[in-house]
Amino acid sequence: MQPFHGTVSALLCLSLLSPSGLVTAQVAAQTPVASSRPAYRSTQLQGDARILHALSRFTFGPRPGDLEVVRSIGLDKWFEQQLHPESIDSSELNRRLAQYPAMQLNTDQLLYQLPSNALIRQAVNGRLSVPTGEPLQAIYENQMDRVSARLQQQRQQNAPLPQQTAAPASGMNAPAMEGQNEASPNANPMNRAGDPASQEMMSGSAQPSPAAPAQPPVDTLLTQDILGLPAEQRVSRLVSMRQPELDTFLKSLKPKERADLVSGLSPQQAELVSALENPEATVVDELIAQRLTRDIESSAQLQEVMTDFWLNHFNIYLRKDEVMPYELVSFERDIVRPLALGKFEDLLEATAHSPAMLLYLDNASSIGPHSIAAERAAFNASRRPANQRQAPEGLNENYARELMELHTLGVNGGYTQADVTQVARILTGWGVAQPQRGGGFEFNPNRHEPGAKKVMGQKFKDHGEAEGRELLHFLATRPATAQFLSRELAIRFVSDDPPQPLIDRMAHTYMTTGGDIAAVLSTLYHSPEFWSASSYHAKVKTPIEYVVSALRASDASVDNLRPVANALRQMGMPLYGCIPPSGYSWKSTDWVSTGSLVDRMNFALALAAGRLPGIFADWAPQPQDDPPPAATQSSDPIVNEEARLEAALIPAGLDPATRTALLQQFHDEIAQRAPGAAVVTANPNANPRRAANVLQREDQLLAGLLIGSPEFQRR
């Protein structure tokens, strides 16, 4: 067995040796193998290949018709528009996003209206008053009943223990309630997910309470009664139900009834029904759904691609802390997306001040060893008996290290462990006010380490929060940062091992424009290395790129994002689910594996055959489609069908060898397995309905094979 991770250069040569279809043929290429010079000097993409290349890198994959649109606008102009997302009409997208009203709320409002389980426990313990008035009271009380039942079950399991379950974990500044948050680092990064097509739950926490008491059977008349009500009364009826009646009723519903329950509801009403069942899962579901909706539907594709890039660069793990899903809403909406094409320093500043980052990388719990807070803690500890002493709190270097290693300078950026400690000291006091209630950034001078600090030879005078701001400016303006970010961008947009001259040019732009991300991308766009034929199809799609590009290429109507989220989890790339701060890799070797190919092929087949609930792709020829020129028509209808679907799904075309193998298999095996299929195809008038069914099944299989093909794995 040969290892399959070939070298990148082998791969680049290969993509030239096997030109795929008409478009690659437009490469103005001499045989690059014969040349000893770097390939990009002699072979530049031309014509439509340039457009398809740009679409494959600056979007989540072309939709049918995109090629024609860019051709008519002009490629350079299209790219300029993408660099300025505010110039792009997003009214249709906004109509779709209106389905997720909670995604417009501030963190504290969001926590109030859709309380986290930490807040629910506070309410159970009487440390938080339950809002009066429906429907909020119903949301709180239902969830309190579920949480209480769970706590009671835990208590029974831990029977011989002193009863401490209700005690607070520690102060409000505790980094995480890990003991109660089962999903914390205990969890495998990839939850075991079943068949994406059959999985319905998007967030793990949406499980019904395990401790639900024995439930009486639900009266089917009651079910019919409720489902028969007009929308407003239906919702009122659910609001009036309490535990265990509500969960018993909801659990008794069959999938069809479940759909009926929410049919005709306004987005606010649908959100309320979801919140009655699980407020936290409602936030997670909407967070994931809005992100995928944007990735699939947004016309400002580069903004979404860059949002995805920065969310990975400044990775935050959804389950680090119970408040994290709530903080992530604002982190993405108010920081990452608006600044995705702006100045890097602004982005760095904003992430450094964000509760999401301060909690994820523990800076919120970091205390200067000589700060007032540390001295107080030491004094208090000395008065306690030895066996009750809490672990002394102190400096936490987690954020300081990742800030340099992952966010700015890069691992070889020239800093030492001593610099990490100094950065951690500078950032002491940067924390979160009332983190579980969405209090926002807070600088606490009592926790700040006094005295001057020195990082990489640069002195930082003792002046509180301003020290940190100066530090961020210092880090954002280092040449090492320019190099590190340029390389990361080139790996995302050009190739796994991008040429150094390209990186240098991008880094130069970074340094001369004050870290302007759009300008750096513009330099990349105008570089010959980007347009080199060896860059064409050089990137392997990551799971999110694969899944979203498949939905875009299919022009599928997507009313349910759960199967998409489940597929990403199955493929090992759950959204907001990367535990380590490094984020996911952009390189092919981390994504090409046996298990992942099985998952990708099965996703392709399920999508094409309409087996993903709430997602529909129509493979029939559309009336507005131009009929194919007669000269290109084959006498074999399957060849024609394949050509039609291939043109829509893979505009750059299949490798002829792949296409031949596909058609061969289709004829040999599939025709044998479905006797008569070929005949019906050839003579659709024989039995129109049966013919239509056979045609549809053929189209589904062909489309599934095209989406699962080797060519579709690349961009």
């Binding site: 290892p3 791969l11 066996n387 092919s588």
Partner: protein
Amino acid sequence: MPSSRRFFLRNGAFALAGTTALPGFLVRSVLAQAQATAPNRRLVVIFQRGAADGLNIVVPFRERNYYAMRPSIAIPQNQVLDLDGSFGLHPSLAAFKPLYDQGHLAIVHAVGSPDMSRSHFDAQDFMESGTPGNKSTRDGWLNRALQAEDLRRPAQHTAFRAVALSADVPLTLAGQIPAIALNNVNNFAVGGRGPAPSPAASAFAAMYGSSGDRIFHAAGEETFDAVQMLRAANPEQYAPANGADYPKSEFGNSMRQIAQLLTANLGVEAAFSDVTGWDTHQNQGSVNGQLANRLLDFSASIAAFWRDMGDDAEDITLVTMSEFGRTARENGTGGTDHGHANVMFVLGGHIHGGKVYGQWPGLDNDQLNQGRDLALTTDYRQVLGELVSTTLNASNLGLVFPGAQIAPNRFLRLA
């Protein structure tokens, strides 16, 4: 099936190799598997994610300070399963006691990663990469151990040589040697399960097989190789042997599937599973409770696996690890926080078990690491280095654990 499962599979595989109708890659795999499995032992690696509390798992019940530091969570002396007069198993580990007594189970205490990180993320990465303190390592120690084995004795291997029961390949197994990750052995098929490949699977196999894309040509070949092998082995027929009774838990299911893959004779050399739920900051319990429940599942799953493997267990070595231990003192909420050294279990046919290995650093206040945790006396890479050199013939330990200076003369001699 009248004959035993294993008999059928072994002979079935060879019988298949004689027919001409089989695709070439399947014949190749079956032959390769005959070469690959014969002289080899197999290594099963279990990662306890979340930092397991080693001091309540293998209890130093002679240490007075253990009881002083853990007033509400310590395991009373009369409740531990005494191993050697100094250490005792948590009572939930009763399933381990016979394995220890029979000399199959060895324990290493005060062991772990020398890096002082108390971050789950970093410490898991360091443990899995096998290069504590170095975050830039992109491959795992077990993958490099297989590379080292190849240097020593090049041989053909099957697609199932390295396999993880998870959605993606864990860092431990990531690297140059291809590894399979699968969630569910019985769902590892393209276009649906069945006695014969689905039309879609055949078409994909042909497309990837004809593709000029080197990466995907090879990946496709491996994928269909693996899928076909698994279909031929028909692991769905599998029923646990020797009355093995796996817990109906996620981990029990993983161990059951590892047994399924090993008994299907697919050429597995290294298998990986993780087991979660160890981050007991609150209310971890003592003889009963949260940790006790985890340990019950943990030990019952592993013991069922051992029983299931029967005579084949002779060639299997299983090792457990966790990113770090927990604080020696219980905290204010009936739990423990992030600590340092921990305990590892090594189970195997060739293990000199029935012994607690490692130098014991003591638990007096002045013997604790940073005044709070069990001190570390054995680098976990010494244990793993010994196992990979004895089980996988990976003698180039400089490749497996770069910079660690693991040498045979420093082995614990547990294998």
